[in-house]
């Protein structure tokens, strides 16, 4: 049966059987099969990718583990391969970092002390974002005006976004020129793999982001930060990923709406005014008002707290006051609580108003006040300490004091009494003392002593000669003698006032007002001396210059003496105490001398 089948197979298939065996052999021989597949693999891959572009990703997928193993196995080769790539990358990275750092420092210094900076600091504090980030995001102003995606090799424009009207030349010429410039710079400066990254003209900058297939050239007006360049670099990388096939297909260049939209997304405008408007409300004035209100409330609270503290101190210093509540009102504080009627509230300021209920305080000072009020003894010292009442000093009435001490027991807060007070010794009667003294030492005439308000009061007149004797005697017996009403007399002074100066007058019955006053003084002085037995008589000596006739001069002398004696009588001098003497002229003089005409005075003691 089996042989028949084999024969049938050889008749039907013949050469195909040999081919199948050859194919089977090829499949079984791994080396031969690998060589065979490798011959068509390249074309098969190209065709597969052409039919299904997504399939390419599978080829480009790297196995990280395999890559790691390869690097570990041959580090030097990888290093040699990476150095030409990494060197320029590192240099560019460092240069970018330094440039960015310098710009950051400059901007930060410029904005450090402005009012706006305070607002940004507040924003940084509120949001948790660093102050530097806030500064940069608020200060930069730029506008991305044009975006060119340029084929790296030909310089032809792949796609463009922006207003073409703003371009001096057409966009294709610009993209070609940028590429030409890059080639020129590379040709002139070297071939180390670096590329033209930026160009500047006026306030416009051209940033060229180099990609693997295409360059992204961006025209930016204004100041911008490296962060924008970072953003553009990321965008370029993403475009290379998302539009890889379009970038390589020249048929889609300048006719790719999706790519154009992608580039248009890079046309951003950043301005400070936009930031201000985007916030909706300019909160700065409100912040100032809020700060002022907070400041005012803080100040007012501080003042109230300060006044309340001072009030508490004042209230705490008052014995006999129990404070229950302190309520601020418009013009001060209303204090409610308990108040001992004997408490002294006079030290409280006017803005403290008390609304208290009476109570009996057991403060030592209040108990002492209560004892003083009960005893009513001005010379009795009262002290209360921890319930012990100590009395010192003097009391006036022994019987009354004894009764009052018994009443001390009813005063709350007194547990013990230490009475060290004594009865006040009664002073002797001053009138009696004065009488006794006067009996032993009679008063000089015209001196008067009397007791007024427990004090010796002296009045009248006392000759100086008597003072030393009698006054010392008085002072030995009596303290504090009031001598404000006593007139001290000096006999020699009185005598001199009588005899020192004559009265020169020519008329026999007339004195000038000054002479009349002088005569009155002399009369008073004589009377004083006479009262104190210091003068017995006053003698008037009349004389003249003896000019004219002897008879007339002598007559006039007598008239002057007699007339002046009569004037003394009218001044109070007894007539019997006056003696008049006339000096008679013995010869006539021819020269008139008025100083020799008048009356001279002497006193007989």
């Amino acid at each position: 049966m089996s042989e028949d089948r084999d024969k049938l197979k050889s008749l039907l298939l013949g050469e195909e059987i040999a081919q199948i065996k050859a194919i089977q052999k090829l499949l079984d021989d791994r080396q031969a099969f690998t060589e065979k597949v490798s011959q068509v693999l390249d074309n098969a891959a190209d065709q597969t990718i052409k039919q299904n572009p997504e399939f390419q990703k599978k080829f480009s997928r790297l196995d990280p583990k395999a890559l790691t193993r390869a690097i570990k196995a041959n580090q030097k080769s990888f290093i040699d391969a990476m150095i030409p790539i990494m060197g320029p990358m590192i240099r560019q990275s460092v240069a970018n970092a330094i440039s960015k750092f310098v710009q950051d420092v400059n901007r930060a210094m410029e904005q450090r002390f402005s009012i706006k900076a305070l607002r940004w600091r507040w924003q940084a504090y509120r949001t948790g974002i660093s102050f530097t980030e806030i500064v940069f995001s608020n200060t930069i102003e730029y506008q991305v005006q044009q975006v060119f995606l340029i084929d790296k090799e030909s310089g032809l424009l792949i796609e463009h976004a922006g207003h073409e009207d703003a371009l001096m030349q057409d966009k294709e010429a610009i993209s070609a020129m940028l590429t030409a410039i890059e080639s020129f710079v590379q040709d002139s400066m070297g071939h180390d793999g670096s590329h033209l990254s930026a160009a500047k003209l006026g306030e416009r900058n051209v940033e060229v982001i180099s990609g693997s297939q295409a360059n992204l050239a961006v025209v930016i007006k204004g100041a911008y930060t490296p962060r924008l360049v970072d953003h553009l670099s990321a965008a370029s990388e993403q475009i290379h990923i998302d539009f890889a096939s379009d970038i390589n297909d020249q048929n889609t260049w300048n006719n790719n709406p999706d790519l154009k939209v992608e580039l248009e997304n890079l046309l951003v405008t950043k301005s400070q005014s936009d930031d201000e408007e985007s916030s909706g409300v300019n909160f700065w004035p409100w912040l100032i008002i809020a700060l002022l209100l907070i400041g005012w409330f803080s100040w007012r609270t501080y003042q109230q707290h300060k006044a309340l503290s001072e009030t508490r101190l004042q209230l705490a210093a008052i014995d006999g006051l129990v404070v229950q509540q302190i309520t601020p009102n418009d013009d001060g504080f209303l204090v409610t609580g308990l108040l001992d009627p004997l408490a002294d509230t006079s030290t409280l300021s006017a803005d403290i108003r008390l609304a208290t209920q009476p109570y009996v305080s057991l403060d030592d000072e209040l108990i002492a006040n209560r004892v003083r009020l009960l005893l009513n003894q001005p010379d009795l010292e009262v002290e209360v300490r921890h319930g012990l009442l100590t009395l010192t000093g003097h009391f006036d009435d022994v019987q009354q004091h004894r009764l009052q001490r018994q009443m001390l027991g009813i005063i709350p807060g007194i547990s013990q009494v230490d009475d060290q007070s004594t009865a006040r010794p009664q002073p002797p009667d001053l009138n009696q003392q004065l009488l006794n003294h006067l009996q032993q030492h009679p008063l000089p005439e015209y001196l008067k002593l009397q007791v007024i308000d427990e004090k010796i009061v002296a009045s009248g007149e006392l000759m100086v000669s008597d003072v030393d004797d009698y006054w010392q005697l008085l002072n030995q017996h009596f303290e504090a003698i009031d001598a404000s009403g006593l007139t001290l007399l000096n006999a020699s002074t009185q005598l001199k006032s009588i005899t020192s100066e004559p009265l020169n007058f020519i008329a026999t019955n007339q004195l000038s007002p000054a002479q009349q006053s002088l005569l009155n003084q002399k009369a008073a002085a004589f009377l004083t001396l006479h009262r104190h037995n210091q003068a017995k008589q006053i003698k008037l000596i009349a004389q003249s210059d003896c000019q004219g006739s002897l008879q007339e001069s002598n007559a006039n002398n007598r008239k002057r003496g007699t007339w002046l004696a009569e004037q003394l009588v009218q001044s109070g001098v007894d007539r019997s105490l006056i003696q008049v003497e006339t000096i008679l002229c013995e010869q006539i003089t021819t020269t008139v001398n008025t100083d020799l005409i008048g009356v001279w005075f002497e006193v007989n003691r």
Binding site: D151, E153, S154, G155, L156, L157, Q169, D170, E172, A173, A176, M177, A180, I181, S183, F184, Q186, D187, Q250, N251, W253, N254, N255
Partner: protein, 158 residues
């Protein structure tokens, strides 16, 4: 609209810039000005194609012009009818950059207005034929065959 990169190739002072000016601006300047590096001009033809014309200088310096040729779609070789050496320069450039042979190309033999100075031998035609099959005797000054030459290249590019 498709953009096509065209490179003007030729030695110093053969009239590359004048040809471009004549074609793009219909203008000719008697005063000679040296091109530094490269000058870019554009011209739209048939509302479907835009020629990006790279007027390249510095062919006397070896390799300096090569970066500008990358990605070119077409070549315009320019020779000076009065300077046979200019044809040799074109041959040298192509020998140095053989990839140019694969590109559509035309050759402008320029300065035909200077009839008395023309110095041309048949051997030069052979050299031109080694570069391209499409050659035009042009004059940037008079505009003779300039438009025609660019149009021929455009057709080759389409």
């Amino acid at each position: 609209m498709k953009s096509k990169k065209i490179c003007m190739i030729g030695r110093f002072a053969v009239g590359k810039t004048s040809l471009v000016d004549r074609y793009v601006k219909n203008h000719f300047a008697d005063k000679y000005q040296t091109t530094v590096g490269v000058a870019i001009s554009t011209k739209i033809i048939d509302n479907t194609t835009k020629l990006i014309i790279w007027d390249i200088a510095g062919f006397e310096q070896e390799n300096h012009y090569k970066p500008y040729l990358r990605g070119a779609h077409g070549i315009i070789f320019v020779a000076d009818a009065t300077e046979p050496e200019s044809v040799h320069t074109l041959a040298d450039i192509v020998a140095d950059s053989p990839e140019l042979k694969a590109l559509p190309a035309v050759c402008f033999i320029n300065k035909t207005d200077r009839k008395d100075d023309i110095n041309w031998q048949p051997a030069l035609d052979q050299s031109i034929a080694g570069l391209t099959a499409h050659s035009f005797w042009t004059s940037a000054k008079t505009g003779d065959h300039v438009e025609e030459g660019f149009a021929a290249l455009s057709r080759l590019l389409s």
